[in-house]
């Protein structure tokens, strides 16, 4: 906990220092002020000044902020890029952008135009922005120790190839992304080579591709986010030391949609999340030493689909409720541990009344093995014949890994304390 607070404190202290030590002036921007355009205001401002943009429409692109200052909008002034290109580019440390309404970012097939781009800077704060009709939203490039807070990004993306991402981090570290709402862009939040970031309380929905997408980003923390109705759910790949707490993955439906797709994720914690009504709750591939605890898997097609090369994972105290398949497994080898979960499909009994079923639960059914090999056979789902072969496999496992059992299945649904 302390680890996450420290950068916040640093930031606050830094901001406080910067405003008290230097005698900061305020430059107003409006049609009748000393500065008529934002560019002019920025040019006229000295370091650590505030540029206050009054309500109005400003048709400007390529606003370059090359000194530490606060660019603040009053009552959401509108900056219209007229589809010409990038709008605000920050190349200095200690810059705050606050309270602007930015629309019409240019689309390009060679350059990633963004509404706000931060390049090689530190201690930035981007907050209370509303972005519409954008290509890329907030693009952080080789920047660090900043905060992206309470922005609302509403795209109108239809196709993947000509749309951009809502919030993108590239080679950036120690960034906090909090309380943002991103919808209808390509990837809601995209992180590449972004280490030690906190992604908290965001909502990412109705995106063309992924709600959250990250690769090669280690030691990040994701908490209390909601990922809903995204084209392909959430994809997380090639990272380690990920902490995912209390997120919600919901309604990600489609032929290639996953609540969450894990590929090569190692040494991570996935705790207290809810996976509800996804085609596949979690798709796991080549992920090792991951702890899954206190998650709820509700009404998914597959709660967990394990594609192989997954070792030493622990599934503990999760609720598996009304999924068509609890677990699909494509090999006979098992090195993962299932313990103390609640399975709504469990049919065992508890004679000694200690709350734990007396016979172990086998989460992999023969039918899920069959469907893995011949996907068309899904058409036989819930047929009496399938129930019969599932039952005989349960009694004497032949095709499914015989050591893949939950030896201590809970009799009652686990109540997680969420706050």
């Amino acid at each position: 906990m302390l680890k996450q607070i420290i950068p916040h404190i640093c930031l606050v202290v830094l901001l406080a220092l910067s405003s008290s030590n230097v005698r900061a002036e305020t430059i107003r921007v409006c049609k009748s002020c000393e500065a008529r355009t934002i560019k002019e205001g920025v040019r006229k401002a000295a370091a650590y000044d505030t540029v206050l943009v009054e309500k109005g429409t400003y048709k400007e692109v390529d606003i370059l902020i090359d000194k530490p200052l606060v660019l603040k909008g009053e009552n959401y002034p509108l900056i219209d890029g007229e589809l010409k290109g990038e709008i605000i580019t920050i190349v200095s440390d200690d810059v705050t952008v606050d309270g602007l309404f930015i629309i019409n970012v240019g689309t390009s097939y060679t350059k990633d135009y963004a509404a706000v781009r931060v390049i090689k800077s530190k201690n930035f704060l981007i907050q209370n922005l509303v972005l519409e009709k954008l290509f890329f939203g907030i693009y952080l490039e080789k920047s660090s120790h900043g905060r992206v807070y309470h922005n609302n990004i509403i795209g109108d993306a239809v196709e993947e190839y000509n749309s951009g991402n809502g919030i993108q981090l590239w080679y950036s570290h120690h960034v906090d992304i909090e309380n943002n709402i991103v919808s209808r862009v390509r990837d809601g939040i995209y992180l590449e080579f972004a280490d030690n970031c906190n992604i908290l309380n965001n909502t990412s929905s109705h995106n063309v591709r992924y709600g959250l997408h990250f690769m090669f980003s280690n030691n990040d923390r994701y908490e209390n986010n909601t990922f809903e109705n995204n084209g392909a759910g959430v994809a997380v790949m090639f990272s380690k030391g990920i902490e995912m707490y209390d997120n919600v993955f919901r309604d990600n439906w489609g032929t290639a949609a996953y609540g969450m797709l894990l590929k090569e994720i190692n040494d991570s914690d996935i705790v207290g999340n809810v996976f509800q009504e996804n085609t596949v709750g979690i798709n796991i591939e080549g992920s090792n030493r991951v702890t899954y605890r206190n998650n709820d898997f509700i009404s998914n097609g597959w709660a967990i689909k394990s594609r192989g090369a997954c070792y030493a994972n622990i599934f503990q105290e999760n609720n598996f409720l009304y999924n068509s398949f609890d677990l699909s497994y494509n090999s006979k080898l098992n090195d993962n541990k299932f313990e103390d979960n609640y399975w709504s499909n469990y049919t065992g009994y508890d004679l000694d009344r200690d709350g734990i079923g007396d016979i172990p639960y086998r989460p992999v059914k023969l039918f899920s093995y069959v469907v893995n090999n011949t996907p068309e056979s899904i058409i036989l789902l819930r047929s009496l014949f399938i129930d019969i072969i599932d039952f005989s496999e349960k009694v004497s496992p032949v095709f499914t890994p015989d050591n893949l059992v939950d030896v201590r299945p809970k009799m009652k649904q686990i109540v997680h304390d969420r706050n």
Binding site: T255, S324, E376, S377, L384
Partner: protein, 260 residues
Amino acid sequence: MLKILKYSFYDLMRSRWSYVYFGFYLILGFVLLFLNNNVSKAVITLMNVIIILVPLIGTIFGVMYYYNSKEFTGLLLAQPLKRSTIFLGQYFGVALSLSMSLVIGLGIPFVAYGIFMSDAIWDFGLLLLTGAFLTFIFTALSFNIGLRNENRIKGFGYAILLWLFMAVIYDGILLMSLMIFADYPLDTFSLTASMFNPIDLSRILILLKLDISALMGYTGALFQKFFGTSLGIFLSISVLALWVLIPVWLIRRVARKKDF
């Protein structure tokens, strides 16, 4: 025909078995709702029961009724009545009373638990509709078996075999062929194959409403495209109707030629 239908219907309405059947569904409905306390979940469990039990009871009851009323049928045949009238009247009497027991027996508990307030009303309606269809289909098939077999034991044997084939063996054969021919594109094949078995067809029809997330897998897309649209539903229901019409037509044909 209506007179005979009425007679058969009232005869069955007075008989104990209709009440047992009705009571069974009534208790089943209440117990399911009591245990689940969630209308949507109860509909899923109910589907399993309907898919398996309704054809079984339709078949057994149909063949039983046919053999039991054989003497009375003989009496009727001596009267100046058309043969098709007699047999179709009996058939509709049985099928109607059975489907009434089903619809009312399940309807009462679900209405009592507030199905009209729930968004599961369409799923439930579809469930009852397919249940009624299955009753009509399997009763018609069992009448066919009865008409073609004078020997009761043989008739019962065939009836049970018919149910076993439709409910279990057919799916086994389908699964085997899917696995053997896994290297070929099988989407159309599995779709067509499911059309040839009324139990499979009704199961898929209901599944698409309930287990949609599992069927959204990449093969599911095709099924979804087919059954999910109104055209698909219309087509499936017409195939179910065909499954009623063809056996009924066969009853008429056999009844006309049969030497009693």
